[in-house]
């Protein structure tokens, strides 16, 4: 088997959190708990979950923007944690990120040209006519034009700013881009444009995406493989087609069932997920999902279900996944 582009193994992150008052002991927030997955070249993994599930932390851990508590991240087979600093710095040009809010991620005092070329400057390149020309080409690629090179971020709409963010992400010719809620803040018609742009760039440049999002309908249009997170753990993973055809984990089913319908004729009183997402500071014992799960039994309160293979292509972390799959 060939080495996958990205291989994540047992990745965990704990944050220390102050107690309720100054006498109370420090608490530990386990944001990400032994997350493992692989991402191949030219592939897109959709990482989906609700607020506080750890999906964004996972993205930042992979890029080494924050340090994992345990576990490893391998990029082209090389462990990023043990890599010498200088080498990691150079490798960073192969891994980029696009954030949700382009307003906050673009320095308002910099011109578009400098914003786009920033990753190259970070690699030690100096401004030149050749680079300016290159920045113009990048703008053409993302649907803007080289006329925009000397403008400032505030002169653009939200969708255009996100295109600038994308131009910056592809400037250093990366292999992997982490898209962290990259289209969530955009209006529907603009969101569709940006999703299509990301797909075109993937085909043209051979990119791999870790596409982090909360909207299952959006992610379906771009992902090849799906991973669903709940309170720090991946609860289900598998190919897109099979996942959307019939999710295995009760939480994944509920999440899919909560997406608004696409046509008024499909309104029905379906089983809604009850209750709220528990605090990640004090998650339920056993399976984190058991208090909200309609299939929960005693074992679910006691034992953490491991993410295990249910079919050759699919994995789920549920004690009764086979039963639920059989209906």
């Amino acid at each position: 088997m060939t080495t996958p582009l990205l291989s994540v193994d047992g990745l965990s992150k704990e944050f220390p959190v102050a107690g309720d008052n100054w006498l109370a002991p420090k608490q530990t927030l386990r944001a990400v708990q032994s997350v493992s997955f692989e991402l191949g070249s030219r592939q897109t993994l959709g990482l989906v979950g609700e607020s506080g599930c750890g999906k964004s932390t996972t993205g930042r851990l992979i890029l080494q923007l924050i340090e994992p508590t345990s576990g490893s991240v391998r990029f082209n087979g090389r462990d990023l944690a043990t890599m010498p600093r200088e080498e990691l710095r150079q490798l960073r040009s192969s891994m980029q990120i696009i954030f949700q809010d382009p307003q906050a991620s673009l320095n308002p005092r910099h011109r578009v040209e400098d914003l786009i070329l920033e990753p190259l400057y970070a690699q030690g390149e100096k401004p030149s006519a050749r680079l300016t020309n290159y920045a113009g080409e990048l703008l053409d690629k993302v649907g803007l034009s080289r006329r925009h090179l000397s403008r400032f971020p505030h002169e653009f709409s939200g969708g255009q700013r996100q295109r600038i963010g994308i131009a910056r992400a592809i400037a250093s010719k990366p292999q992997l881009i982490v898209c962290d809620e990259a289209v969530s803040a955009l209006d529907v018609s603009v969101q569709a444009q940006v999703i299509n742009l990301l797909q075109d760039l993937q085909d043209e440049l051979g990119l791999s995406y870790l596409f982090i999002g909360h909207d299952l309908a959006v992610v379906r249009h771009i992902a090849d493989t799906m991973a669903i997170m709940y309170l720090g753990r991946i609860v289900e993973m598998g190919p897109k087609r099979e996942f959307y055809g019939r999710p295995l984990h009760p939480y994944a089913q509920a999440l899919l069932g909560s997406v608004p319908v696409s046509h008024p004729s499909k309104r029905h009183s379906r089983k809604r997920l009850e209750g709220e997402i528990p605090s990640p500071l004090n998650p339920p014992t056993g399976c984190h999902f058991h208090p909200r799960c309609r299939f929960a039994r005693d074992i679910c309160k006691q034992q953490v279900p491991q993410l295990r293979s249910i079919s050759p292509t699919r994995q789920a972390a549920c004690h009764f996944a086979e039963e639920i799959a059989a209906g």
């Binding site: 609700e50 209006d187 018609s189 897109k240 909560s258 997406v259 608004p260 696409s262």
Partner: protein, 326 residues
Amino acid sequence: MTAAPLLSVRDLSVSFNDRFTAVREASFDIHPGELVGVVGESGSGKSVSALAVMGLLPPTAKVTGSIHFQGRDLLALPRRELRKLRGRDIGIIFQEPMTSLNPVFTIGDQIAEAIRVHSPMSKKAAWDRATELLEQVGVPAPRRRLLDYPHQLSGGLRQRVMIAIALSSSPKLLIADEPTTALDVTIQAQLLDLLNKLRQDFGTAILLITHNMGVMAEVADRVVVMYASRIVEQASIFDLFDRPQHPYTSGLLGSTPELDGEAHRLRTIAGAMPNPAELPPGCLFAPRCPKAVPACLEMQPPLLPVTPAQSAACIRAPGLASEGAR
């Protein structure tokens, strides 16, 4: 519908500083018990329209036209009268419940205050009523929750508290401005169910402002589509999804990601919303419209009925239906 509308908006225009017009000549009705959705993207004027109905626009806003609620023109009403009406007969919920709740008072204090403003009663009775209201909006352990402060509640629970406050005077109309936008999908689904339940149980009419066509598909009876300050289409929810008459509506539906069918490439609307300071001549959508003809650049088409129950502001609208716009 033959019954008199609960709310009737006619030729509503809102401009700021004589320079920027947020809403142009908007007319629509809401009947008792009906859920009408106003859908549009940022800058379409949907929220400003809602604020105008509530009388919550800043004094710098110039509002023309009429807004009749149960036969009385809200725009002609003295401020005091309007204040009494708002909150009692018209309830309001906003997108961000944290900014609408006072952080230094308990939930119970805030609900009880709202109750006592409109119907004087003892503090004790108001707290009992508050417990009842929280129960109605599906807050677990309501009596204990009354002692909590807003920061102790999740976003979903805070929004339920806002709905409880809005319902405290049994309003006939509830205006909800993007009430689920800041919430997770599972919580959004719960709240949409709650809005539906309120209509069934109390016959409350709801004006729901949203940018999400899926939310419309879930709960709306009728939809008003806005684009760049104008209403471009009005229709029943089924007509809108099955036979959209305005190309913008079709574009919006086509670019909404769906869960059914093949995960095809999304359809897009070329370009972006026009800058409100440099509006194009003629139809505001023409520069982005795949069906535009030269005549579209000459005049703004009025909103005209295509069928008795559906109207569109497009000179090509009557022909669009047969072409299968979607």
